[in-house]
């Protein structure tokens, strides 16, 4: 390695350390060996709750909408964690500020012409703009149709009815595609539920635990061709064992 100036070198070391989880070893050859399968299952107690997440992109009322909507898309019940316990709102807020929200890797040059849904999202608005307009339009629609209440103020059954309307095309807006908005919202909700905890969702890898996905273990040489055998180890994150 070339000599870096001191602040740069410290930064480099910090970043280097940050990406090596406890479950990884670097051998002398530089070959990375996965040793995670040998990590004993962590205690099943949930990690201590940190301070509540403060959204960076969403305004207060938008944040209330996001929390209410994802709680219906993946509700909390006896089956397993809901989107709220999984931290999906935090995940979505972080995505708005990242490449997805700003369509960083999408072709966004015009002209933007109406076309069949078979050609994918063809809108001019960035996904985070679709969220902003979609939330405002949904809240306005709810206030008009549901006795002056915003979406977050409605009861669960009515919220489900509104979400079905967005999904199924019975609710439409002039300023933004209701179906486009719902499609992004549902996609991001599932992403936040199932992605590695490093992205802010899937707290304690609880959704992986629920379905039986071992996460970042990624080493199953001993587990191929084992008919009738359930894999026994709990999930790990890129950041190591999860509660």
């Amino acid at each position: 390695m070339t000599d870096l100036p001191e602040p740069g070198r410290r930064g480099f070391l910090r970043r280097s350390i940050a990406i090596v989880p406890a479950a990884t070893a670097l051998t002398a050859t530089g070959f990375v060996v996965a040793q995670n399968a040998a990590v004993p299952p962590a205690a099943a107690s949930p990690a201590p709750a940190g301070p509540p997440y403060t959204p960076v992109y969403f305004h207060t009322e938008e944040w209330a909408f996001i929390q209410a909507a994802v709680a219906r898309l993946i509700p909390s019940d006896d089956t397993g964690p809901g989107a709220i316990e999984a931290g999906v709102p935090e995940f979505i807020d972080r995505q708005m500020e990242g490449g997805f929200g700003q369509a960083a890797t999408w072709y966004m040059q015009g002209p933007f012409v109406p076309s069949s849904p078979l050609f994918g999202y063809q809108g001019k608005m960035l996904p985070r703009e679709v969220y902003r307009a979609g939330i405002a339009a949904t809240d306005a629609w709810c206030k008009q149709q549901k006795a002056g209440k915003r979406f977050a103020e409605l009861d669960a059954a009515t919220q489900d009815e509104v979400l079905k309307g967005l999904d199924g095309g019975t609710i439409q807006f002039a300023e933004v595609g209701a179906k486009d908005f719902f499609t992004f919202l549902l996609q991001n909700t599932k992403e936040g539920y199932f992605s590695d905890p490093i992205h802010g969702g899937n707290k304690n890898a609880a959704s992986w635990k629920m379905i039986g996905f071992p996460g970042a273990r990624a080493d199953f040489l001993d587990w191929v061709n084992k008919p009738g055998v359930h894999y026994p180890l709990p999930p790990v994150s890129i950041n190591g064992p999860q509660g």
């Binding site: 990375v32 219906r72 089956t79 072709y107 489900d160 992605s195 590695d196 379905i211």
Partner: protein, 590 residues
């Protein structure tokens, strides 16, 4: 923008994936001074694919960290010549690669040779079923190179990759346990097959008991530690489940990085320049010779790179676009059927059955490799009688478990709600017990499925995007309808709790949103007639003898296989022709 002129090289390679790396190896071995220009970044196993960061489904599998950044360049798509094309704004149907290794980094490693009949498709069909069997508007053509001519190069590429599999035909002798339909091979595979996941064990038994001929999928995922002829070392695949869409952290998946670059990058007559985006091939004033290429470097400088030989080694679509932008070869016109560049774009038509089993039969879907499982070839190519069926083509049928990454690969029984408590309950109850039986089907070439330049949309440098005109045709829908009956029969014999069929039907139009296949073909097809092909049987352009074009753009129509081994074998075949014939007498080889 400054214009810089660089010293001339013997050969310039445009794009540095599989074919660029193969050409680099072969042409430097012939003593040429070779320069590869790659528009993307450099990438290697360490640090770019290192564990644990590579196991990040969101960043790699969903957001596509290793894919082409479409904000700079994409293609436009429409269904018919009468429609207005719109941009392919997000990755969906196919996943374009980027950077060193190209799509050879994020492939699954399914390793198939073409069938002898695949390479002579028109001759085969005319001889067996008569000329009238081929429908109006279908462009069926022979490749112009035979299986016997390519066999040594298939063998060569298998040894480079450390391909794991079971031969079905060694020197004409049918081998138990392999694919009895395959062409003859001079050698067994370099490595034994990968172990099979639980699901593929059930598939193999079911297919065999139905009288079919299942065999272990040949995999460029090494089943053992392996050292290839260039001294590159591969590690054994550990079934991590992060293969396609990811680089391989185990050094097990064959990629240019794991097989060729360790040797090539040390050669003094080779140079790689990354972040060098080629804009066009430069031509002599009379248009008969290429003089080199012009590219834009990372700082935005325009650079003129003279070269005696230009080899286009980019992805299928990018090769075709460069020919169009450089005015090499006559552009195809669907109205007259004349012209060759852009002609015969083809794709694949796949289907599948999602299977869900009871609690006593965990499939453990996360235990997977890109090419781990079994396949069968009974209804592919011309391995069965098409006469009474009336369509051209076929499909491989397989049970391959590539992984169980939950955002992309969670599969739920048909009729399950897409959100809410019912969705979550189904996810919990089905994930561990899910598998699938899939089909990979051919798509033929047609008069009005083609590529040209878009009249409206431009790339980040102001050049026109490539425009794709493509939709499904009745012949291929008849093929997939037939295949669906076979997939369903096998799925039922595996005795799951639930089967959900997913096959396209006549009347469906091409939907660019769901992932389907990165096996795009054609547009600069090879052949023996300059009126119906853009390049000759050595992959040399008919009109400009010092320009060669690699890649699946050369396929006259598509088949039921993954294309990489054929693409690589054609690159070795072309390189041998350059070395043994062209360099002695630079001119037209055919």
């Amino acid at each position: 923008m400054a214009t810089i002129k660089k010293p001339s090289v013997d050969a310039v390679l445009v794009g540095f994936g599989w074919t660029g790396a193969i050409m680099g190896m072969e042409l430097t071995a012939a003593g040429l001074k070779v320069l590869a220009l790659e528009r993307g970044e450099n990438r290697d196993t360490v640090p770019d694919f290192a564990y644990p960061r590579i196991t990040d489904e969101l960043s790699y599998g969903i957001r596509g960290k290793l894919f082409q950044n479409l904000s700079k360049e994409t293609v436009t798509i429409r269904h018919t010549p009468a429609d207005v094309a719109v941009p392919y704004r997000q990755h969906g149907s196919f996943l374009l690669g980027d950077g060193v290794g190209g799509a050879g980094v994020h492939w699954n490693g399914h390793h198939w040779r073409a069938l002898p009949a695949d390479l002579q498709l028109r001759s085969t069909y005319e001889a067996r079923y008569g000329k009238k069997f081929i429908p109006e508007g279908m462009y069926l053509q022979d490749f112009g190179v035979s299986y016997d001519e390519l066999e040594p190069h298939f063998d060569q590429f298998e040894k480079i990759c450390g391909t794991s599999g079971k031969a079905g035909n060694v020197k004409g002798q049918i081998q138990a346990g392999g694919n009895p339909f395959e062409g003859w091979r001079s050698n067994e595979y370099p490595l034994p097959p990968l172990a099979s996941p639980n699901s593929a064990v059930l598939f193999e038994k079911a297919a065999r008991e139905l009288g079919y001929h299942p065999f272990p999928q040949a995999a460029a995922n090494a089943s053992r530690a392996y050292t290839n002829p260039h001294g590159a070392q591969l590690g054994p695949c550990n079934f991590c489940g992060f293969c396609e869409r990811y680089g391989c952290y185990m050094y097990a998946k064959a990629a240019p990085q794991t097989t060729l670059l360790p040797s090539l990058m040390k050669r003094s007559n080779f140079e790689l320049r990354t972040r060098s985006h080629v804009q066009r091939v430069n031509m002599s004033p009379d248009g008969k010779r290429a003089t080199g290429v012009t590219y834009i470097d990372a700082q935005g400088n325009e650079v003129e790179q003279p070269a005696d030989l230009v080899v286009l080694c980019a992805y299928q679509m990018h090769n075709v676009r460069l020919l169009l932008l450089s005015n090499i070869g006559k552009k195809y016109d669907p109205a007259t059927g004349e012209g060759v560049v852009g002609r015969s774009y083809a794709y694949q038509l796949n289907g599948g059955a999602a299977l869900h089993f009871d609690k006593d039969q965990p499939m453990n879907p996360f235990v997977g490799a890109g090419a781990s499982g079994h396949a069968m070839d009974d209804f592919d190519g011309d391995n069965f009688d098409h006469g009474p069926l009336g369509f051209v083509g076929g499909a491989t049928i397989n049970c391959i478990n590539t992984g169980g990454r939950p955002i992309q690969q969670l599969s739920l029984p048909a009729g399950t709600p897409t959100w809410g408590a019912g969705w979550k309950k189904a996810a919990k109850e089905n994930y561990v017990y899910q598998t699938s039986v899939g089909s990979q089907g051919s798509v033929m070439a047609y008069r009005d499925n083609y590529l040209d330049l878009d009249p409206t949309y431009k790339d980040a440098f102001g050049q026109p995007l490539l425009r794709m005109t493509f939709d499904w045709k009745d012949n291929d829908m008849a093929m997939t309808a037939f295949i669906s009956t076979k997939v369903e029969q096998i799925a039922k014999a595996m005795n799951p709790k639930h089967i959900s069929m997913g096959f396209k039907k006549k009347g469906d139009h091409y939907d660019v949103r769901p992932y389907q296949s990165t096996h795009n073909t054609g547009g600069a097809i090879m052949g023996t007639d300059p009126n119906t092909s853009a390049i000759n049987r050595y992959l040399q352009t008919w009109d400009v003898p010092n320009v060669f074009v690699m890649g699946a753009s050369a396929f006259p129509q598509n088949f039921g296989y993954n294309p990489t081994a054929v693409v690589a074998a054609l690159a070795y075949w072309s390189a041998a022709a350059i070395r043994d014939k062209y360099l002695k007498n630079p001119g037209a080889l055919a």
